[in-house]
């Protein structure tokens, strides 16, 4: 699965997510990605989220929407992302990851899986990683 969240100069939030699903899935299986609130959610008034991981669990937990609602309640983007991903994992015993931008551009990244690649650009630098607690940086080309 791949995804992106952006906030533009006008303060508009948008999110996109795309996937092939899971290897060996049944023909006709639909996961979380196309289901709004599970794989993708965006609200200019709050935040945007794209998720990845165990699709059946993500959609049962409405993971993207759960992160957005936590931010609406006053939780910061990173804490909300971590709290919801861990909440899903604890409740359903499957793993996931998510990327989040609040309406103000605050970043959230968390995954309960072994790895998740991610990257964002801020102040002329690309920040990226794939391991837990790893933040690498390159100059923006």
């Amino acid at each position: 699965t791949v995804g992106a969240v952006a906030v533009d100069a006008n303060g508009h939030v948008a999110v996109a997510t795309s996937t092939g699903g899971m290897s060996g899935k049944a023909v006709g299986r639909i996961g979380d990605t196309p289901q709004i609130g599970s794989g993708t959610y965006a609200d200019d008034n709050i935040a945007g989220v794209s998720t990845t991981g165990h699709g059946e669990s993500i959609l049962k937990y409405c993971l993207a929407h759960s992160i957005v609602k936590l931010i609406e309640s006053g939780v910061d983007a990173n804490t909300a992302t971590k709290k919801s991903v861990l909440g899903m994992t604890k409740r359903l015993n499957n793993t996931a990851g998510a990327i989040t931008l609040s309406k103000n551009g605050d970043v959230g990244v968390y995954f309960s899986s072994n790895r998740m690649s991610w990257a964002y650009v801020r102040d002329g630098k690309i920040y990226y990683g794939i391991e837990h607690d790893q933040v690498l940086e390159d100059a923006y080309p």
């Binding site: 791949v2 992106a4 969240v5 952006a6 906030v7 100069a9 006008n10 508009h12 939030v13 948008a14 999110v15 996109a16 997510t17 795309s18 996937t19 092939g20 699903g21 899971m22 290897s23 060996g24 899935k25 049944a26 023909v27 006709g28 639909i30 996961g31 990605t33 196309p34 709004i36 794989g39 993708t40 965006a42 609200d43 200019d44 008034n45 945007g48 990845t52 991981g53 165990h54 699709g55 015993n93 793993t95 990851g97 990327i99 931008l101 551009g105 990244v109 899986s113 072994n114 790895r115 998740m116 690649s117 991610w118 990257a119 964002y120 650009v121 690309i126 794939i130 690498l136 923006y140």
Partner: protein, 170 residues
């Protein structure tokens, strides 16, 4: 507002052999999206550009390089959401197109619906000018190997779900 974009390239039990490709492709995607924002493009334009970049890249489970279903086919899905009006567009069970995210965006902009699937999604895409590609052109060797591994061992895809230390996942 200072524009910003973040991308992900998928979570799971990514093997060491795929890490470099994932990192390179993830950085390329965020640059593609950020370049759109720098030129004054909208958030919708930026997230589509970033995802298109990864759908072309076999290092990711989307577009070319998507994992395979039990029939050995690529069957994809995508969604896009505009936070200004809570408008959404999504497609599912779609085959034979390289960029499902761009079809999803057309559902958002050119359709009264939110989610189109299967044959209807294909018909909509063709009506909107998208061209099909041979199904085998979406299949990577890594996806073939992952399906064989699943059929042999019953392990769900390493690109999607971790199989180590996951407490019974899969």
């Amino acid at each position: 507002m200072k524009p910003i974009i973040i991308v992900h390239g998928g979570a799971g039990d990514i093997p060491d052999s795929r890490v470099t490709g994932k990192l390179t492709g993830t950085k390329a995607a965020v640059i593609a999206g950020h370049d759109v924002l720098l030129k004054g493009g909208s958030a919708l334009d930026a997230v589509e550009a970033a995802v298109v970049s990864m759908e072309k890249d076999e290092n990711f489970n989307a577009g070319y390089g998507s994992v395979l279903n039990l029939d050995g086919e690529v069957e994809m899905e995508a969604s896009i959401m505009d936070g200004a009006r809570l408008d959404v567009g999504a497609v599912t069970l779609i085959k034979d197109f390289l960029h499902p995210i761009s079809i999803a965006r057309k559902v958002l902009s050119d359709s009264p619906h939110s989610l189109l699937g299967g044959e209807g999604a294909k018909r909509f895409a063709l009506q909107k000018g998208f061209e099909t590609i041979p199904p085998e052109s979406l299949i990577s060797q890594n996806a073939k190997d992952a399906l064989q591994k699943f059929l042999k061992h019953g392990e769900f895809g390493r690109t999607e779900i971790g199989i180590k230390d996951e407490g019974g996942v899969g």
